[in-house]
Amino acid sequence: MHNVAQKTQTPLIAYLLRLGDSALVLGQRSAQLCGKAPALEEEMALMNVGLDLFGQARNWLTYAAELEGEGHDADHLAFRRDAQDFRNLLIVEQPNGDFADTMGRQFLFDAWHVHLLDGLTQSSDPRIAEVAAKSLKEATYHLRRSSEWVMRLGDGTEESHTRMQRALDNLWRFTGELTQFDEIDQAMFEAGIAPDPEILATRWKATVEEVLEEATLVRPSYDTWMYTGGKVGHHTEHLGFLLAEMQYLPRTYPDATVW
């Protein structure tokens, strides 16, 4: 079994895995709602968002695989790594729950994703800049939809407001990873590859506050205790089940060449 964690990983490869894995895992969460969305239009929206994220994940993971130089491709990274090798944010692996949970998770991620991608379009690495420019257009569209849902549910009926607030309160403990940064984020910033993590955090907060206020929702405290660790491979128990479903087929038929 190919184990990325045991190999020497450059900060750039680690950073690309964070980008790719977050897109991949959130895409998979969206895909899990196929056939189960509350309305046909939402079904299509969830699948379209998931599809965009899968495309972005492929672009990031293809680059990571090339830099690794092990002769692997994006599929190998997606389907042949175990949970501890994944570098996605904890928030994206959280369960779909009810529709407020699903859209709250999407919104908190999108608000971060858009500002991150916006910064990455200025990356000193041209490959990253072009993937980011492509992804930014899609993420901007995702954010508009998810923020509309947060506002509609938050400023909707008593029931929808209660559920949206509950979802927000529940997800909030996983947002620390969106504003905190480690030595890899810092190294990428200093190399001109990634945007200033402090500016990114400020912009994420501004977008979240704007939408939550419009949604008449109470923003939980930034100083509350936060779960972290996704970016270094310490995940919540949900990721393993997600990967088991996602990876089952390629691992069962590892020699298949045509799907």
């Binding site: 939402e42 599809l51 495309g55 492509k134």
Partner: protein, 194 residues
């Protein structure tokens, strides 16, 4: 009878037919010949988008470059969306169309930058979309604020009414949103602005 053109005729009549390849018959350039870019573009003009077959890949604005590199025809194509499942099918169709037209070994390259925008849809393409029942993108692709900005008015492609409303940000494919007309009551696809 060989088509007229700038390319020298091949000695078709002198060869046993089993040895002929498409290029011999068509008189189109083979590897090593510098070919006519416009002729290639004309071939691609006939390749439909698989999901919106009323427009060609040229009209959709996804063919970004046609060039000859060291005697090999190279066509650069950009995906509309990162995860567009049609991307590989489109590349395959372009390859097949070029081979059928007598270009034996074209290289189809995927190019991400600059990122595709609906601003590249040609005027003819927009008109064909409308005639097909899909509202073409309104305005130019640019960022919109999250709060307090109205959606653009999307005229109904069927009756022309501006009394339309958005049903969903997303539609039957990655590139479309779902609308409905309040006058003729028909639902329709809107080719969303990106």
């Amino acid at each position: 009878m060989l088509p007229s053109g700038n390319h020298p005729s091949k000695p078709v009549d002198d060869w046993p037919s089993s040895d002929l390849i498409g290029s011999d018959r068509s008189g189109l350039p083979r590897a090593g010949d510098e070919g006519d870019i416009d002729a290639v573009r004309a071939v691609l003009q006939e390749v439909p988008d698989p999901e919106v077959p009323v427009v060609s890949v040229v009209e959709l604005g996804i063919v970004r470059d046609i060039e000859w590199l060291d005697g090999r025809l190279v066509v650069s194509v950009t995906p509309t969306y990162s995860g567009c499942p049609a991307t590989e099918v489109i590349e395959q169709h372009i390859h097949e169309a070029l081979v059928a037209a007598g270009y034996p070994d074209p290289l189809i390259q995927r190019r991400l930058s600059p990122a595709w925008t609906t601003d590249w849809l040609t005027e003819a393409g927009r008109e064909k979309l409308r005639a097909y029942g899909i509202a073409p993108p309104v305005g130019s692709a640019s960022k919109r604020s999250l709060v307090g900005q109205a959606d653009p008015v999307v005229p109904c492609p069927l009756c022309g009414s501006e009394a339309t409303e958005r049903v969903s940000e997303f539609g039957s494919t990655a590139c479309k949103a779902l609308y409905r007309c309040r006058d003729c009551l028909e639902p329709f696809d809107y080719f969303k602005c990106l």
